[in-house]
Symmetry: C2
Subunit: 354 residues, 2 copies
DNA sequence: TTGAAAGCGCTAACAA
DNA sequence: TTGTTAGCGCTTTCAA
């Protein structure tokens, strides 16, 4: 029943079987036969044989010859995070719908790794690259340019290639306003500027913009913001947990109200929480820049920002489809998600009978 | 400064530059030169030139010639889930450490899609395939066999290829025991068999085993379990939410204690929660088969099962490295995670300065 | 409307 | 210790 032993059929096999030349077979099987003006009958003959012999193209051979591959890359900081994994999900669907094959890789925010991984992808002749949240977008850009690879930055902008990012400033403003208002309405005592903090992020474009938005609203609502209220802990949960711990040790409590720079940093808060009794944070108000379906239901109010990764990916493709796109930055509006909100995700589009 | 225009150097370019033959250059540059007994000096000469001219191998050409590719596939149901995305993270690190290139794809639990995606990967001559949580592992197996592709099932077993899965029965027993004990100690009134439910999953091996474990412990602790207590809603959050809604409508509350078959189903619970006031579930106890760092901190006790995907991936490689591995199933022990526990993940291994 | 032929860049016998 | 040679399977002029 199975053709286990036999090697895969090639266009030469079909050429012999059909009595046509390899080039005709090739044209029929790669879809270019209409424009090569091959007779319908010939095409059908060959397609029939291909079916019968379970022909599938050798994509490495095709790619070698045409110096393309049908592969489209997405470079992420990490897989293990709802923001990036939902981006991967969206990306994959879009690439598939274009008849190409997605390759999603992560570089753990290491600039060397980023470049090296992209060079590997280039060795496979990938056709296009989405660079999402790269620590060093311009370094990656260099590598791409050298290889003539079309690419676009997502999430973190570069200066040399087109970029699509969230409107981090506006998102941070929405988020900051929401948490301060919530804290104001919750508390018995009015909240003051030294009770509103920001944790997480580092010296990248997104963090800077978010900090700017945070400051902007905080000053407008509560007056001058003490420098100590901004704690850029990087993106690691461990460091973030330590920052909360330090704060807690010196103040005996957490800030009444704080902005967490990403869901990765929010995981740092979880690590802190795990070490302390429930009552320790009975009345905190948290804002998190990123959306996570479970993060929205923690035992205290968590406002979240959901970034529109569908729109970012779509815009990325639009840019790559255009000829000679300028190296400008496109802003995509994110959305404020109130506490206890379960949004639907990219998977909800599926036919899901059970 | 940049070589923008120039095309990439090939072994022929280096052959001319070095005065050696292409095959010598090839051997030096692909690492097989020691066993081809090429002079150290020759090797160094060529390596120097390669460096200087920024040579990188064309992996499609290499793959075409050697009918391999250096690509290793991981087929997932979805990306957008902490269990699978952390598996992807682990997989990627392991593949990289072996000098190969990971390709992680998702097939949305659609058996046709699963087969078709694998055929595409085969067209790229991938070297090995990890099939994780496939709806139809044996269908995928057929495709692999036909192409002579080494493969292993992860998470959901097949009958024809080696498989590595969680001990779902034992995991379910731990989880069921934990939530019943918790409910017993919380409640004023002793809990009875008709107050302990299971939601989610469908007719796959993992679900069956989990249901078996659930029943086993439930019967041992509380006596005979009414059939209505098992609600296999499939894996979609939407369907799961509907099941909770239906239950709630007819009982005016949620079960005091329930087992949720996966974190995807737990998302269904979030959707339900979002529609109802906090008080509705002041005293429920939940068990979720899967670990999610935020799921562990919801406003009611959530016991979770963390599956050891690192061990599963490692075992998968061990199997693929062995010759003619038998089609047996390897069980990996999962771990019970009490409420409010933040575990470290695959990323914590990184050097994370900021 | 189709075929012949030249390679894409690399590897691996086999010779030397 | 190194070179020669024949492809891997496909695309793509150019000619018929």
């Amino acid at each position: 029943m199975s053709d286990m032993g036999k090697k895969k059929a090639t266009i030469y096999d079909l050429s012999v079987l059909s009595g046509c030349s390899p080039s005709t077979v090739s044209a029929v099987l790669n879809g270019s036969w209409r424009k090569r003006r091959i007779k319908e009958a010939t095409a059908q003959l060959i397609q029939g044989l291909a079916e019968e012999h379970q022909y599938t193209a050798n994509l490495q051979a095709r790619g070698l010859r045409s110096s393309r591959s049908g592969l489209v890359g997405l470079l992420l900081p990490i897989h293990d995070n709802r923001y990036f994994s939902s981006m991967a999900q969206t990306f994959e669907a879009e690439v598939r719908s274009r008849g190409q094959c997605p390759v999603v890789v992560s570089a753990c925010r290491d600039p060397d790794e980023e470049r090296q991984i992209v060079e590997t992808l280039i060795s496979y002749s990938i056709d296009e690259l989405f660079i999402a949240g790269a620590t060093d977008p311009d370094g990656v850009h260099e590598v791409c340019i050298k290889a003539g690879l079309r690419h676009v930055n997502i999430d973190l902008p570069g200066t040399r290639a087109p970029s699509v990012i969230s409107d981090n400033f506006e998102g941070a403003r929405m988020l900051t306003r929401a948490i301060i208002e919530q804290a104001q309405q919750d508390g018995a005592v009015p909240i003051t500027a030294d009770e509103v903090y920001l944790f997480g992020g580092r010296d990248d474009h997104a963090s800077r913009e978010r900090i700017r938005g945070f400051r902007d609203i905080k000053i407008a609502m509560l007056g001058e913001s003490p420098e100590a209220c901004i704690q850029p802990t990087g993106y690691s949960p461990a460091m973030t947990a330590r920052a909360f711990e330090t704060f807690y040790e010196s103040h005996g409590k957490l800030p009444r109200c704080f902005f967490v720079n990403s869901s990765i940093n929010l995981e740092g808060l979880m690590r802190f929480l795990g070490q302390h009794p429930h009552e320790t944070f009975a009345d905190i108000v948290v804002g998190c820049y990123d959306y996570d379906p479970f993060g929205s239901f923690l035992p205290f109010p968590v406002y979240m920002i959901r970034q529109d990764s569908e729109a970012m990916i779509a815009e990325g493709f639009r840019i790559l489809d255009s000829t000679r796109p300028p190296a400008i930055t496109h802003l995509i509006q994110p959305m404020l998600v109130p506490p206890r909100t379960a949004l639907t995700g990219p998977l909800d589009a599926l036919k899901d009978i059970d």
